[in-house]
Amino acid sequence: MKPLWLLLLLAASAAPVAADEPKQAPGPPLYESASPVKVECEIDRLVVAKLKPLGVRQVLCSDAVFLRRAFLDVIGTLPAAGEARAFLEDTNPRKRRALIDHLLQRDEFAVYWAMKWADLLRIKAEFPVNLWPNAAQAYHRWVLASLRENKPYDEFARALLTSSGSNFRVGPVNFYRAMQSRAPEGIAATVALTFMGVRTDSWKPERLEGMAQFFAQTGYKPTSEWKEEHVFWDPTGTHTLASNIAPGKASIDEIGKPAKPESTETEAETPAFIARKEGVFPDGQKVKLTQERDPREVFADWLITPENPWFTRSITNRVWSWFLGRGIIHAPDDIRKNNPPSNPELLAYLERELVKSKYDLKHLYRLILNSNTYQASSMLGDVKPAAQAQFARYPLRRLEAELIIDAINKITATTELYTSAIPEPFTYIPQGETAMSIGDGSITSPFLALFGRSARATGTEDERSNKFIPSQWLHLLNSSQIQKKLEQGPGLRDLISARQGPVRTLEDIYLTVLSRMPTHAEIENAKDYGKPVPGLNKAGKPRAGKRSEDWIDITWSLINSSEFIFRH
């Protein structure tokens, strides 16, 4: 049976309850749950085993914290006030599990995760790589569709590694185009980073060279259509472009010249690739490359198996880091021998689960989201690094650029204009799209640039910067953009003008902005703020209520609070 709050969700933004009294009774603390932590699942058993010797005990987060956390982490979207109220009032003891199932089915799920993948897969029309607008769209559409259908991760990876065809028509071929270097070594480095979580910069050159052989026959050729390019298996190397050069090998003069396929110069270079005809996998295993099979497929066969030491481990560790703020191996794209996992048993368990589920990432999401470890409170203060590495708490993290502006737009019912400097039809974004849904990293806004959206240049996890800098605060605290949204956006205006009495208005503002009810102290603070409404009422007494300017300031203060801007 569906829980009560889900039914309420279907009934759209729930009908308001008449009472205008503070409901917050003295009870459980605001951010933490009063219920004791019961170790029920394998994740928690393995995590607690590490935490016990450190003398740290997890505390569960409150329902309100969980609601907001799950919405932001699973679908990158704030709950609407009605959704928040319904969940908080629901008495079903299993409502958290039900919410997780609900969120994994929402439309925004694929949109949000496509944004994350677009960072790692470097989906951006221009700079530093000319992927081109139409191709960036095709690439993003394919990622989005794969997430929508919950394509098993092994198939997802294989498609990216082995596809051939037009950059406009076969989305995943753009994986091989979205790289700063198309030299075999450059491709190998990107493949290792993306699918093995490995940075090849510390490898011995021979190791990278051995792996590079699998990508030495990757060809690129233009077609008669503007900006169209085919990626294909090119065993004879006739279509190796002039721009296909090793990092640091090209002079300034060579770059920017049009590619000259089939020039005598490049032909002279090609036999070197083919002469070897032996690839060396990163584990040292050698394999003869034949003219019968695309070596990219040979590589994919080696990589994409449950036995491969990198493939399952890398994605499992990434998924964990996306929800818990750090990898079991940290950083998640720096897997190497001398960077061991903080909890090897936990990582091994999750890997087994992913394999057992046939690479169903949602299965992994479910396991993690339902654990107490994910649902732990973030209120332990500044915990010691050792405990942090063992996931003693859910770490506070600033929201991504896209999520901040989408949330502010949702609250104020306003929109943004996103543009690209590239004048093409494929860069047109209809007004009202969320920032999260923009596929092409070249389509942007000053806000997104300021708040550290990923440059999508290298595909490393840390390319996205979620650290606060003063100019970001300037913008949130005092920009005309945000002020205008608060003053003129219909979202807040409707809340204020509903005239339901100040406490009810404040509750609605809290549910809309912070997804919870205000506390007594907060109600008092809000009451004290601002000037009385001018004039007298019919009875000749001072008017009740607040000036809209003061409501705006109160909402402004919530948008600028740590609770709004940090996952917690």
């Binding site: 530093p128 640039a449 910067s465 605290l477 102290a521 740590s562």
Partner: protein
């Protein structure tokens, strides 16, 4: 002249700037604490005493002409090249320096030619906007694995930490370049602060600093309200993330309610001076930049408010924009000089490339000019650069370098030297990769030596 006649950049520098000077100058003082890599680069002191170099350029104003400004219609006129090259251009103007001529559109700069020098042999051969803009502002080759930071971000990294001013160390008037990522791999902290707003408007509304609708009293009341309402901060204030965020917020409030915003109040200037700079956005950009120099801002970029990518409507656009460029730049140089700031303020101005000297009369261009990276002109002034000189030259039709090529590493190397930044110093790469300020001595990087003739 062949490039091998010049010393590679490194040789010139090893004599005048040693690592030790850099350390003594305090360049790594606090930056080193944040970025251990940079500190490692500050090698142990050498035994021999080296005369300390004098940092001449305390501030830099970079005027960037996005789109690429024609060189032969402006600072490298070729009156004898004929109609196909010059179109409707009239005879060039003489300047207050014998032998230097500029085009008819620069009468005001012509009277200040003793204050600046023109490089007429800038070259990199790249004709793509993004890649050329990257080359000119980083001197690194595009298409490599690393996306290098621009000059401004490098200044901000080395000079920003000891800088105590009320404004950010790297300011852009008024919009960022968009297709160019100024901070490169140095990350968001080194991003420029873009003012937004229009300095030529009745009130220069710097986004985030000067607010249209919030009075100071309300600003203060809001700040107190926020402190009371930030319940999570009260509950978890000890968290390192929150502490860092609060520190950034504190710095932001210093700008909102502190002295910083006065710099943007152009109404404090005499009306005659504002007129002299020109009552257009670019002119007032220049005036705002001068006020920032006085406030000690190390690196200021004026992204020209408009584009120079004149494939079509070339002469009309130039006829409108060039006189504004002339007025703003000339007023800036004169004003800096009169205030005794020119010696310590380096000004450089160019686009990502020049424009084809041969006019494209074919439709749809109908008399436009295309991208031209083979040779173009740069204006440099102050901060240790001599005025009244011309460096290098282009051929008779301004199509190729005739003599003394100047490559991006040469120009930026000179700017760094005058500002006391070691071009071989390491930059902190997030993944620990080897990265240095300039690609000196790297394979394929062309250099013809620093601009010693005007330094």
């Amino acid at each position: 002249m062949s490039t091998s006649d010049y010393h590679p950049l490194g040789l010139t520098l090893s004599r005048s700037v040693s690592r030790r000077d850099v350390v003594q100058a305090g360049l790594f003082s606090t930056a080193g604490l944040l970025f251990p890599d940079a500190r490692a680069a500050a090698a142990p002191p050498q035994a021999l005493p080296v005369p300390p170099i004098k940092v001449k350029a305390k501030s830099v104003i970079q005027v960037f002409l996005w789109g690429g400004m024609s060189h032969n219609d402006t600072w490298d006129p070729k009156p004898d090249a004929g109609y196909d090259y010059n179109g409707p251009m009239e005879a060039p103007l003489s300047t207050n320096v014998d032998g230097i001529q500029v085009s008819e559109w620069f009468p005001k700069l012509a009277r200040q030619a003793d204050k600046f020098s023109l490089i007429r042999s800038m070259t990199h051969g790249n004709n793509g906007h993004e890649t050329a803009a990257y080359l000119v502002q980083t001197a690194h080759r595009p298409g490599e694995r690393l996306a290098y930071p621009s000059v401004g971000a490098v200044f901000s990294y080395f000079h920003g930490k000891k800088y105590q001013g009320a404004l950010p160390p790297y300011v852009v008037l008024t919009q960022p370049q968009g297709r160019f990522s100024e901070e490169g791999f140095l990350g968001a902290k080194l991003k420029p602060f873009a003012t937004g707003g229009d300095p030529n408007a009745a009130r220069f509304e710097v986004e985030g600093v000067v607010s249209r609708s919030v009075s100071d009293t309300r600003q203060q009341a809001r700040r107190e309200l926020l402190a009371r309402m930030d319940t999570l901060l009260q509950a978890a204030g000890g968290d390192a993330q929150l502490r860092a965020s609060e520190q950034a917020k504190l710095e932001a409030y210093d700008m909102i309610l502190g002295k910083g915003r006065e710099v943007f109040d152009l109404s404090k200037e005499k009306p005659e001076l504002r007129e002299r700079y020109g009552r257009h956005t670019f002119g007032q950009d220049c005036l705002a930049a001068r006020r920032m120099v006085e406030a000690g801002v190390p690196y200021i970029v004026i992204n020209y408010p408009g584009g120079w990518d004149t494939h079509s409507n070339h002469f009309q656009t130039m006829g409108r924009q060039a006189p504004e460029l002339d007025q703003g730049l000339a007023a800036l140089l004169l004003d800096l000089k009169e205030r005794g700031l020119l010696d310590s303020t380096l000004v450089w101005c160019c686009g990502e490339f020049g424009r084809g000297p041969k006019i494209d009369w074919q439709p749809p261009w109908n008399g436009g000019r295309n991208h031209h990276g083979k040779v173009f002109s740069v204006l440099v002034a102050g901060g240790g650069f001599k005025g009244g000189h011309v460096v290098g030259s282009s051929d008779a039709k301004a199509e190729e370098v005739k003599d003394r090529p100047v490559y991006p590493v040469d120009l930026l190397g000179s700017v760094y030297q005058l500002a006391g930044i070691d071009p071989k110093a390491k930059l902190p790469h997030p993944m620990g990769l080897e990265a240095r300020v300039l690609p000196i001595g790297e394979e394929g990087v062309k250099s013809a030596g620093l601009l010693t003739e005007i330094m």
